[in-house]
């Protein structure tokens, strides 16, 4: 797969690092997010930053690009000491960054988002036509076919992530930083991104890449820096490190959870009795065609599909987050229109949204408040959760999901992305739902935690919880689900019990449908 000559990719001694960070430390209040971390970036390499949730990867990136002020340590750019004091400064110096949370502005168009700050101009005024044309071209390069004139927030989160990437790769940068760009992309999208990354690497760009998917790291990265608890563990060549070794370096001990992963809980027999949840012809104009779905007790239904295939919309309709234009929904065979999430929650349905930042995190509240929000909401304001129960629940879930920092009073917005995701999961588990709808629950979660969460879902299902599981990562969907629903073009195209279906099978189902569509047309 690698085509570039070795001289560029293995610069070790001869080349000078474009960026070198030495002994960087950053403290937030009592939290030491980075403690004497050093990183070197060489031109023409993909450098992976590795570490668990909260290890300090994002902080390191923000330290480099001038979002945070460095407390101690030096940054060398091209061998000279130079610290950036704002993202604008780092960008001007040729560092192009996609931060972990999609950081675009929702109210402007796709094209504007991509070219903000460097719009093509004619006689001093922005040339809109040219801007749209350029945006469209860059998007197509990445294989994204959307109208650049549409407003960004009309698009699902995955597309927004792609747009953010497109913005970053569109500039002529010396350094490209991608903080978990692939967390909600499907395999196809990831491959397209990698193609672009390889091209840029071959052109001599230094790329920083963060991902919790080890396979992706092994596919694309040349070198990696491993962090743990804000400290530098080691710098390694990817080729010289086995996956197991890497995991050990990241978490600092042998990983038993990973073993457990393969010995997953047995699939339950599904399809018996009356369904717990039954949707008939559920649909919504412009986002989902009429869809049937049944969910039985103790069953995990996985929904597979590509970007924009309508999985999120289906989940939202099942939860009443959006109202359906057509179709019916029955919970325990009571036909009810779900008019609001509140309705759904009262019927013991829980839904964890894919858009953590906009639809999950309540940033200025504490971790404890965030965890207890849904439970408290369903109890009503007059019946506060007793202090003892609060403390116990929060403590239990912080431990169970290994949330770090393990401080219930920390503000939610100060948590790392992956840890926020865990808190949100805890929010729903605490309500003890009968039906749990998870849309990308493992987005941005490290490998250990992912295994924990998967194990937790399997365990709960074994206890009778019914789960709808959506993830861009097909393996994960297949591993967990008893029954598989495949979606495409905003409708269900296939459904089957999961008896050793493989990723390949699913891709073929999707592709087959595509071919059918072609012949029909």
């Amino acid at each position: 797969m690698r085509t570039q000559p070795d001289t560029v990719a293995r610069p070790e001694a001869q080349a000078q690092p474009v960026i070198e960070m030495r002994d960087i430390s950053i403290t937030f209040g009592a939290v030491r997010a980075l403690d004497g971390v050093s990183v070197r970036l060489f031109p023409g390499e993909v450098h992976a930053l590795m570490g668990e949730n909260g290890a300090g990867k994002s902080t390191l990136i923000k330290a480099l690009t001038g979002v945070y002020t460095i407390d101690a340590g030096t940054v060398l750019v091209g061998g000279e000491q130079h610290e950036f004091h704002s993202p604008a400064a780092s960008q001007a110096a040729g560092i192009s960054t996609v931060y972990q949370e999609v950081n675009l502005v929702p109210n402007l168009t796709v094209a504007e988002n991509m070219l903000l700050g460097r719009e093509p101009r004619r006689f001093g005024s922005i040339n809109v036509r040219e801007m749209n044309r350029r945006a469209r071209r860059t998007l197509l390069h990445l294989g994204i076919d959307i109208d650049p004139r549409t407003v960004l927030d009309e698009h699902p989160i995955a597309v927004q992530q792609l747009v953010a990437i497109a913005r970053a790769v569109d500039v002529e940068a010396k350094v490209l930083i991608l903080d978990e760009p692939t967390s909600s992309l499907d395999a196809d999208e990831v491959e397209k991104l990698f193609t672009v990354m390889r091209r840029l690497r071959d052109e001599g760009v230094a790329i920083v890449f963060v991902s919790h998917f080890l396979d992706q790291i092994y596919e694309i990265a040349d070198r990696m820096t491993i962090l743990r608890n804000g400290r530098l563990v080691e710098e390694r060549m990817v080729a010289d490190t086995t996956q197991l070794e890497l995991v050990r370096l990241m978490i600092g001990r042998e990983l038993e959870v990973l073993d457990r992963l393969d010995r997953e809980a047995p699939h339950t027999e599904s399809g018996s009795g009356t369904p717990l949840l039954k949707a008939v012809g559920l649909g919504r104009r412009n986002s989902l065609e009429a869809t049937d779905l049944e969910l039985f007790e103790g069953e995990v239904v996985g929904i597979a599909g590509l970007l924009g295939s309508g999985r999120t919309e289906l989940a939202r309709l099942l939860f009443g987050a959006d109202t359906a234009d057509s179709g019916e929904l029955a919970v325990r065979s009571h036909r009810r229109k779900l008019r609001s999430p509140r309705h759904a929650i009262d019927r013991n349905i829980a839904f964890s949204s894919e858009d953590r930042k906009a639809e999950g995190v309540v940033g200025d509240l504490t971790v404890a408040d965030n965890m207890l929000l849904a439970l408290q909401a369903s109890r009503g304001w007059l019946r506060p959760i007793p202090q003892a129960t609060r403390t116990r629940l929060v403590k239990d879930y912080i431990e169970a999901l290994d949330i770090r920092p393990a401080d219930p009073h920390a503000l939610m917005r100060h948590l790392s992305g992956g840890n926020q995701q865990k808190v949100l999961l805890a929010r729903w588990l605490i309500t003890e739902p009968e039906i749990l709808i998870l849309d990308e629950p493992t987005r941005g979660i490290d490998i250990g935690a992912k295994a924990q969460i998967q194990a937790k879902v399997a365990e709960l299902a074994a206890q009778g919880l019914s789960v709808v599981f959506i993830s861009a990562e097909l393996e994960e969907v297949l591993r967990l689900s008893d029954r598989l629903v495949v979606m495409r073009d905003r409708r269900k195209i296939h459904e089957q019990t999961n008896d050793d279906v493989s990723v390949r099978d699913v891709l073929e189902i999707i592709a087959g449908e595509a071919r059918e569509g072609e012949t029909r047309a």
Binding site: F28, A358, V362, L373, Q376
Partner: protein, 339 residues
């Protein structure tokens, strides 16, 4: 964290009092007169009551990311309703007349507040415009009730609401403090406070978590109406009359100022009732400072501007950081943005 923030408003208040003492050394003197306390401090307490009440409701509204411009008009309506009821009653001076009139006025105000809540939460109209409607129309309604005349009432019980004393302290102040304490218990001993904050910080996330955001927003505006109504009654009782045109004029600005001085952000979210309490005292003390240190009328505004800027700078962590020498290793965010 909020407790720590209280430090600055309290400090500002103390500085203001100190300035007064320097100008008039007897400023803080309090003496006993007719069985109650008498002095500038007592006056400040009493005069702070209306702003404190309005600011109390405003704090909760602001916590949900809203704003209520109609409070002044609602106060005027409350006063108009109560006063016309009192003079229309068979026995103008009776206790029952006062109680009935006030109850009636408060109910009207709750309805008006709920109307604001309806526009904001159900129809989804921006708070500033939704409440602007009542701000404009409300004063007209209040004038219609009093027929544009200053209505003077003679009811000792009603008058006591502003001028009465209980346990040597002004009743109005005790009422306001009572409301603050009641609200603090209501929001902090139940889950209401947390839910209000959640709605203010991230409405969509709260909705998806099952919070009845609409009901909360509604209730909060109704509560603000109630508080504004109480404030209106206190103001009317203070002069035993209602002037529909001037009663509570611009009180919304004072109230918002009190809320912000108290450390609650206008962006919604975390709120501090204790801060609002101090903020309201500050506003009242400021009003007293102007005549006390003999600032000529034409310099009033300038003086206020300087004080407001000074207090805000005092509260701004960035401004304080500039004054202090930067310690190495201190937590600093280059741009104050947490992404």
């Amino acid at each position: 964290m909020l407790r720590h923030q209280l430090l600055w408003p309290v400090l500002a208040l103390l500085v203001l009092l100190a300035v007064n003492v320097i100008a008039k050394p007897a400023f803080l003197d309090v003496r006993m007169q007719d069985g109650h306390l008498y002095g500038n401090v007592i006056d400040i307490m009493r005069n702070s009551a209306p702003v404190m009440l309005v600011a109390l409701g405003m704090t909760l509204v602001i916590a949900t990311r809203g704003i209520d411009l109609s409070v002044g008009a609602i106060a005027a309506i409350a006063a108009a309703v109560a006063c016309t009821r009192i003079i229309g009653a068979a026995d103008e001076a009776a206790l029952s007349t006062a109680v009935m009139a006030m109850t009636y006025a408060i109910v009207v105000c709750i309805v008006l507040g709920a109307w604001n809540g309806l526009l904001v939460s159900v129809l989804g109209i921006q708070p500033i415009i939704a409440t602007l409607i009542l701000m404009v129309a409300g004063r007209g309604i209040s004038m219609a009730i009093t027929d544009g005349q200053i209505t003077t009432v003679n009811n000792p019980w009603f008058s006591d609401l502003a001028s009465g004393f209980v346990l040597t302290l002004p009743l109005a102040f005790l009422v306001a403090v009572g409301m603050v304490v009641f609200t603090a218990l209501l929001t902090r001993r139940t889950a209401l406070g947390m839910l209000i904050e959640a709605v203010g910080i991230n409405p969509e996330a709260s909705r998806l978590a099952g919070v009845r955001a609409r009901t909360i927003i509604w209730t909060v505006y109704a509560f603000s109406g109630l508080c504004a109504g109480l404030a209106g009654l206190v103001i009317a009782a203070n002069t035993n009359s209602v002037n529909a045109n001037s009663l509570g004029l611009w009180i919304e600005l004072d109230a918002i100022l009190a809320v912000v001085i108290g450390g609650t952000s206008l962006m919604g979210g975390r709120f501090s009732l204790a801060g609002t309490f101090v903020g309201a005292l500050f506003i009242a003390a400021l009003a007293r400072t102007i005549p006390n240190i003999g600032i000529p009328s034409e310099v009033n505004y300038l003086f206020k501007a300087v004080v407001v800027i000074a207090v805000c700078l005092l509260q701004s962590p960035k401004a304080r950081a500039l004054l202090r020498v930067r310690r190495p290793g201190a937590p600093t965010l280059a741009n104050g943005v947490t992404a």
